[in-house]
């Protein structure tokens, strides 16, 4: 059965609105956050209105129902990523917290003065700064895999960076600016040959790529729920069990302990060792609904439509005089970061907004990419399977119209 975009879209009532008088919303800021299907809002509402009880604690029915629902989502995420066991799934508030957790905790476990951590030139700040801070704390060295003119990682350089000093390699599955889907299988394989652990920032990957952590053999995989139709404030860190067992807890408090005296504390088992305090269980339940929603369509079908839309958009937009695309890798998600000669990204974003288009402009939390291209910022249209060819057509017309305003 083929993908019916109008049917898919009908699950997202937010898309059907005029954002300004007579300006129909066209939402192209999907790499920042995706919109939520009705079933996610309904799941959250249901638990808030009918079930709410603090998980893992109470003896009453509401607490145990909420606990069951929360832990059921852990099972769901476990199978969604094909993790070996549910203990390997840690709930966080997002990719940023997931990466900070690994950087701190794994860093405590394995990093010594003079060791090296490798990231890439196309990372989001959230996958640079935690490693930079860790290296400063430990006296370690941060190395960077560069990318080429198409926005593809230079694996030949990566191989020369690897040595027995390399302890961790952390790269994204897909770039939030260039859209490049990185060859993480190869990166993981090469890093492991050198005995380094591999962390994958899956913020942009999770919604667009099949993720099978056992097949990938990555040591950690981080993602945010809100980029895959779930609520904000939900995130996941997958980690291999034997590593999570050895790593010290990142944050401490209630729930993550086994026994506490004023002399000593023993820690709870996985995954609770890494989930101190009351977690955001309400939204995690929403995340469960989001994953169910994605599975009901199949990522494959959604991605196939997004890919068709991307090719269609590129064929239209490249007809615009002075159109410059940042990132033309062979294997991409539906992210179009671009500039139009002579038009500042802020001006473009401001006027696109007036016409009803939601895009992202600026440095996109990726200063090194801006420095690479020697630009102050870009405009980004990030497509989702609920977008249509008609929306792309109106975007193309809007850009032509706006370009005239700056002549």
């Amino acid at each position: 059965m083929s993908f019916d975009v109008q049917e898919f879209r009908s699950h997202f009532p937010i898309l059907d609105q005029e954002i300004y008088p007579k300006k129909k919303l066209v939402y192209f800021d999907n790499a920042a956050t995706t919109q939520k299907p009705k079933c996610v809002a309904e799941a959250v509402e249901h638990y808030m209105m009918k079930v709410n009880g603090n998980i893992h604690r109470g003896t009453h029915k509401m607490a145990s129902d909420a606990t069951r629902a929360y832990e059921a989502v852990r099972d769901q995420v476990c199978s969604f990523m094909n993790a070996a066991s549910r203990e390997e799934i840690i709930f966080t508030k997002g990719t940023t917290e997931s990466i900070n957790l690994v950087a701190w905790s794994l860093g405590e476990m394995c990093l010594q003065t003079g060791d090296e951590v490798i990231v890439s030139e196309m990372e989001h700040h959230a996958n640079i700064v935690p490693w930079q801070v860790l290296c400063q704390r430990k006296g370690a060295i941060l190395k960077v895999i560069p990318f080429d003119k198409n926005g593809e990682l230079r694996l030949d350089v990566f191989e020369t960076l690897l040595s027995d000093k390399t302890k961790v390699v952390s790269v994204n599955h897909a770039s939030n600016v260039l859209g490049t889907i990185n060859p993480i299988e190869k990166i993981i394989q090469l890093a492991h040959l050198n005995g380094a652990y591999v962390v994958i920032d899956g913020a942009q990957g999770i919604g667009h790529c099949e993720v099978d952590v056992q097949k990938l053999d990555c040591d950690f995989y981080a993602f945010s729920g809100h980029k895959v139709y779930g609520p904000t404030g939900t995130g996941v860190l997958y980690g291999k069990r034997e590593l999570l067992e050895q790593m010290p807890p990142f944050m401490t408090g209630g729930e993550m302990i086994e026994t506490v005296t004023f002399e000593q504390t023993t820690y709870n088992v996985l995954p609770y060792k890494f989930e101190p305090g009351t977690p955001n269980y309400t939204d995690v339940i929403g995340l469960g609904a989001a994953i169910g929603f994605v599975l009901s369509y199949g990522k494959g079908k959604m991605v196939a439509w997004e890919e068709e839309l991307y090719q269609y958009a590129i064929s239209k937009l490249s007809q615009i005089d002075g159109f410059r695309l940042f990132g033309s890798a062979e294997n991409k998600v539906g992210i179009i970061s671009f500039a139009i000669e002579g038009v500042h990204h802020f001006d473009l974003g401001t006027l696109l907004d007036q016409l009803g288009f939601a895009v992202r402009t600026g440095r996109l939390c990726a200063d090194p990419i801006m420095d690479h291209f020697e630009v102050q910022g870009v405009t980004r249209a990030a497509l989702s399977p609920y977008n249509t060819k008609e929306e792309v057509d109106s975007f193309y017309s809007a850009l032509l119209r706006l370009q005239q305003m700056f002549v």
Partner: protein, 142 residues
């Protein structure tokens, strides 16, 4: 010379002629295009007001008790906004600037139409102009 409030009222009246926000922006773009660029030697970090989305340079000079501003931005709409602020604050005394209340930005709906991160750029510009005025005021009264 018109007072700060007279200039503000003129700006409000000018913008009230446009029904459509696209026309208001077209007007800002025109103002941006008409504003003279500042001397490249002042387009340095010292005079840069850092905003998330665009770069703005503001260069003050002080003469005969008055403050003269030059400003520029790499984004043309922002340059239009700079042009509006210069109209209001150009060749004023430090006291006039410090005692003024800027209401035209709200009145023409700019704060509403520029999202918080963006309007922060505009607010940083105003803040910077007032800081220059404050510094100058201290200097001449010390």
């Amino acid at each position: 010379m018109k007072t700060i409030n007279e200039v503000q009222d003129e700006i409000i009246e000018e913008f009230s002629m446009f029904d459509d926000w696209m026309d208001k922006y077209a007007n800002l773009i025109e103002m941006g295009n008409e504003l003279n660029d500042i001397d490249p030697k002042y387009k340095v970090d010292n005079y840069l007001i850092k905003g998330c989305q665009s770069r703005v340079w503001l260069y003050p000079t002080f003469e005969d008790g008055k403050i003269h501003f030059e400003g520029e931005s790499d984004a043309i709409i922002v340059k239009g906004l700079v042009s509006l602020l210069l109209k209001v604050y150009e060749d004023r005394t430090a006291k006039e600037i410090l005692e003024s209340e800027l209401y035209f930005i709200d009145d023409i709906g700019l704060t509403q139409h520029l999202s918080p991160t963006r309007s922060n750029g505009l607010l940083s510009m105003v803040k910077q102009m007032r800081l220059y005025a404050l510094a100058y005021d201290r200097k001449i009264n010390s």
